[in-house]
């Protein structure tokens, strides 16, 4: 492997999450000298990747932690369905095929896998879980990168790029110019940029700015600075600029880094009301894993961007335990008081719902026949009356997972300027996920895209840098 002697690295990687690390490791393995710039301080390194738990992988037969088979075609159809066709089939299939090959490489760099976690049996076939979660994965990659001689700088937020005619020249941190022969951008979406979110979500009819009430589920460092810089430099974009993946989280979730544990999983077992104590959507439309991602948006559309998930004691123990204790009362009036809802209106809503319940055979593991008649909105499944105290209530607010806007790339992960691929500027991870995932989501695809295109970008950058070296030498 080439000694890292010059201060100008072959490959500059900007970002410090999964995609950046996969790129840095691959470029280094290809013999390039690599410098990685992470905006966050060491203890907050790893971006949203440190909150993840699994990646989706194609496999044709049972493997260590994966049951059964998940062939390319099925994976592709799943992607096509969740994105409603907003995907590039060629790039999507590339990600899918590579996902079946990347885990040995991951293991070589210290990642361990475990069977699907308790409560996630529905993912045991399709998703390989990281032992200890994404932070353990990120730790392993940093450790391996250090051992291989990748130079790593923390608290190094790049604020400008020098791009001339679609070619990368240098990155800037304040007054410091960092040149490199090739560059990989892997600095996430713009989900932590409050201003930008505000703009993207706009103002509602009541004059509210919904995004002001959002929790950011992941890192505070994904400000989209380089997305914006690339757009200004004329790079081609992809994905809906106004959309974000948005789930309903506990209203007490921290502003940043609440991660997975602030999710509220009891929606389908009870009812959800807004701050006027009115129901607003079919809570039992489909299985919760298929529906949890619409509830962020639903709550965002309610006044004050809050909702209240209400269950009775029959539901306790049937869903993942919430991180914060809920409001709890022996009467509906008492619960309404604790949640700050109008008592009369709340009791009426519950009574109307209860009266409309047509209870058949309750079974939370199938789309059962418990439904409502003559109430709007209807609840199509798991409709049991709320009649067994104590009652529990959880206030909900929208939590942003990631944004969809990204940069257009090809199968070498090259950034594009007016349809032309850059020779030495590559993009990976959330920053280009929109090529595969123009909208929608299915569990584990973010890490699949980051790992596959991180490695492709790293290899492409190393090749571009070395070629440039040769050109220089022969010039």
């Amino acid at each position: 492997m080439k000694e890292d002697t010059s201060s100008t690295p072959d490959v500059l990687v900007i970002g410090g999450g999964n995609a950046a690390l996969c790129a840095a490791l691959t470029a280094r393995e290809a013999g390039a000298s690599v410098l990685l710039l992470e905006a966050a301080p060491r203890e907050w390194r790893g971006g949203n990747s440190s909150h993840t738990r699994n990646l989706r992988c194609m496999h044709n037969a049972p493997q260590d932690v994966l049951t059964d088979a998940y062939p390319e075609e099925e994976f592709w159809l799943d992607l096509k369905k969740v994105t409603g066709g907003r995907t590039n089939e060629q790039l999507a299939r590339l990600a899918i095929r590579e996902s079946s090959r990347c885990r040995d490489w991951m293991r070589r760099h210290g990642v361990h896998f475990q069977p699907s976690l308790s409560g996630t049996l529905h993912l045991s076939r399709t998703n390989a879980f990281f032992m200890g979660g994404g932070k353990a994965l990120v730790n392993a990659y940093y450790r391996s990168a250090e051992a291989l001689g990748v130079r790593i700088r923390y608290e190094a937020p790049v604020d400008r790029l020098e791009v001339v005619d679609g070619q990368f020249r240098a990155a800037w941190i304040g007054q410091e110019r960092i040149a490199a022969r090739a560059c990989v951008l892997a600095s996430g979406g713009f989900e932590s940029n409050r201003e930008w979110l505000r703009e993207a979500w706009g103002q509602n009819a009541d004059g509210e700015w919904p995004a002001d009430n959002f929790a950011i589920r992941g890192t505070r460092f994904n400000l989209g600075v380089l997305l914006k810089a690339m757009m200004e430099a004329g790079a081609d974009t992809i994905g809906d600029p106004s959309q974000s993946h948005c789930v309903a989280v506990d209203a007490r979730a921290p502003l940043y880094d609440g991660g997975i544990c602030t999710r509220i999983d009891c929606v389908s077992l009870g009812i959800v009301v807004n701050k006027h104590a009115q129901r607003f959507y079919d809570e039992g439309e489909d299985f919760w894993p298929k529906r949890y991602a619409i509830w962020g948006r639903l709550v965002a559309q309610q006044p004050g961007q809050v909702g209240f998930s209400v269950i009775d004691s029959k539901a306790v123990g049937r869903f993942m335990p919430p991180v914060f204790p809920g409001a709890k009362a022996d009467t509906l009036e008492g619960l309404a008081r604790q949640l700050g809802l109008d008592e009369e209106a709340f009791v009426r809503t519950v009574h109307d719902y209860n009266a409309a319940c047509r209870v058949g055979t309750f079974d939370h593991t199938v789309l059962d026949d418990c439904h409502t008649d003559d109430v709007t909105p209807a609840k199509s499944h798991w409709a049991l009356p709320l009649d067994t105290p104590p009652f529990y209530g959880y206030a909900l607010k929208p939590g942003i997972t990631f944004t969809y806007l990204g940069l257009k790339v090809d199968e070498r992960a090259a950034a594009h300027f007016e349809g032309e691929p850059s020779r030495n500027l590559f993009v990976a991870g959330e920053m280009m996920a929109g090529n595969v995932l123009g909208q929608g989501y299915t569990a584990g695809v973010g890490m699949t895209i980051g790992t596959v295109f991180g490695r492709i970008a790293g290899a492409s950058a190393a090749a571009a840098a070395t070629k440039e070296g040769v050109e220089h030498a022969t010039a």
Binding site: E43, W44, S50, H51, R53, H112, Q114, P115, L117, S118, G119, T120, L121, H122, F129, F130, M131, G132, G133, G134, K135, A136, N139, R143, P254, D257, G259, I260, C261, T262, R263, D265, W288, P289, V316, G317, R318, F319, M320, P321, P322, V323, P325, G334, R337, Q338, H364, T365
Partner: protein, 386 residues
């Protein structure tokens, strides 16, 4: 309203003899609720699978989980909510604090439980007392600590019956005190009835120290997030060294009473071979553990218990070092001195056993047995397939 409810609950708890949770217990309850909503660490050890079988964490559950934790540190480095995150989740530390508390709360007699709190002092005093006792006895009996070589005949210095009359009761006391302590702990965590399969699994978990393997076999973190098997290996040397020394004493006792063969035994005899091997294990093992302990990441475990951990390690080291020195010098004029030093160290080790780090092995074994029983029963919490 809520306050009133809380007051009422407290009053009824008091009436039923429920003790309010300590700060350490409340912290374990807090962090376990976060983990139970997260579960990323399920693959590391038994604590997390045991946690997912619960929705609430009563005091007994907290005591059980705290002793099930092996303080390996893996879940701290992997935790997305570890400090500086505002959730400040540090499982190994929270568990260690409760563990320390259970040792002292369940000590027998309970008045001696306080010895845990100043364990460094406890160990120092016990050692001073042990050494002084045997040195003075040797002096009183022989008038000098140096003597003509006695060809390794210990009993010329301290007669066999005298040693038996001193160590016998102490050993019995240790066994009774630890036994009663762990029995109380066992009743508290209401562990159920062990079956053969559960016992066999527990034996394996203990003898292999399964839960220091990180869940993936590559060991657990020490100074940083890198996995190492060093802690497990040095513990094996310590544990099996200790057991071999214990076995040496048992064989010697058998020789004495059953076969009537009196010490000193030849270098190639079973007691001396076992003792030598064990002594080496008990020298290298604790030395390694001390080395690791000094380098241990500051956030692992409870800093307040470091003196106890190191005191115990030092005592083990002293026991093996003096034992091996005695073997080496048993034909010299210094044998009485070496013997007194070794017996003093052994006495201190035994005296402090029910009130020091040694308890960790007993309590952990009990917790592992409960886990082996519990995991064979159906999961009481059916969270469905969300």
């Amino acid at each position: 309203m809520q306050q009133l409810e809380a007051l009422l609950r407290e009053a009824s708890d008091l009436a039923e003899g429920v003790i309010a949770p300590s700060a350490a217990e409340a912290e374990v309850e807090r962090v376990m609720k976060i983990c139970n909503a997260c579960r990323y660490c399920e693959g590391f050890c038994a604590v997390f699978p045991a946690m997912t079988r619960r929705l609430e964490f009563a005091q007994a559950d907290i005591h059980y989980l705290a002793n099930l934790c092996h303080n390996c540190g893996a879940c701290l480095h992997a935790c997305q909510y570890a400090p500086p995150h505002e959730f400040a989740v540090n499982i190994p530390q929270a568990m260690a604090k409760v563990r320390g508390q259970t040792y002292s709360d369940f000590a027998w007699p309970s008045s001696l439980g306080t010895l845990y709190r100043n364990n460094g002092l406890t160990v120092a005093l016990a050692l001073a007392a042990g050494l002084a006792l045997f040195l003075m006895m040797a002096l009183a009996k022989n008038g000098t600590l140096f003597h003509a070589p006695l060809a390794g005949d210990f009993y010329a210095i301290f007669p066999h019956n005298l040693l038996v009359s001193m160590f016998g009761p102490v050993f019995l006391f240790v066994a009774v005190a630890l036994g009663l302590g762990v029995a109380k702990f066992w009743r508290g965590i209401s562990a159920g009835d062990p079956n053969a399969a559960a016992i066999a699994e527990t034996a394996q978990d203990v003898l292999k120290l399964k839960y220091l393997d990180g869940g993936h076999g590559q060991g657990c973190p020490n100074a940083d997030d890198a996995s190492t098997l060093a802690r497990r290996r040095f513990h094996h040397l310590t544990f099996y060294g200790f057991m071999l020394c214990f076995a040496a004493t048992c064989v010697a006792t058998l020789y004495h009473y059953v076969f009537g063969w009196a010490a000193p035994y030849a270098i190639t005899s079973l007691p001396v071979l076992l003792g030598t091997l064990g002594g080496i294990g008990l020298l290298v093992g604790p030395a390694g553990l001390l080395w690791l302990n000094v380098r241990r990441h500051a956030r692992h475990g409870d800093a307040a218990q470091k003196p106890m951990d190191r005191g115990f390690i030092a005592l083990l080291l002293l026991t093996s070092a003096t034992g091996l020195a005695l073997l080496a010098g048993r034909d010299t004029a210094a044998m009485a001195l070496l013997l007194a030093a070794h017996l003093g160290a052994v006495m201190a080790l035994f005296l402090t056993m029910p009130y020091g780090k040694f308890a960790h092995g007993i309590f952990r074994t009990a917790a592992l047995l409960k886990w082996a029983i519990e995991k064979r029963a159906p999961n009481p919490v059916g969270v469905g397939s969300e």
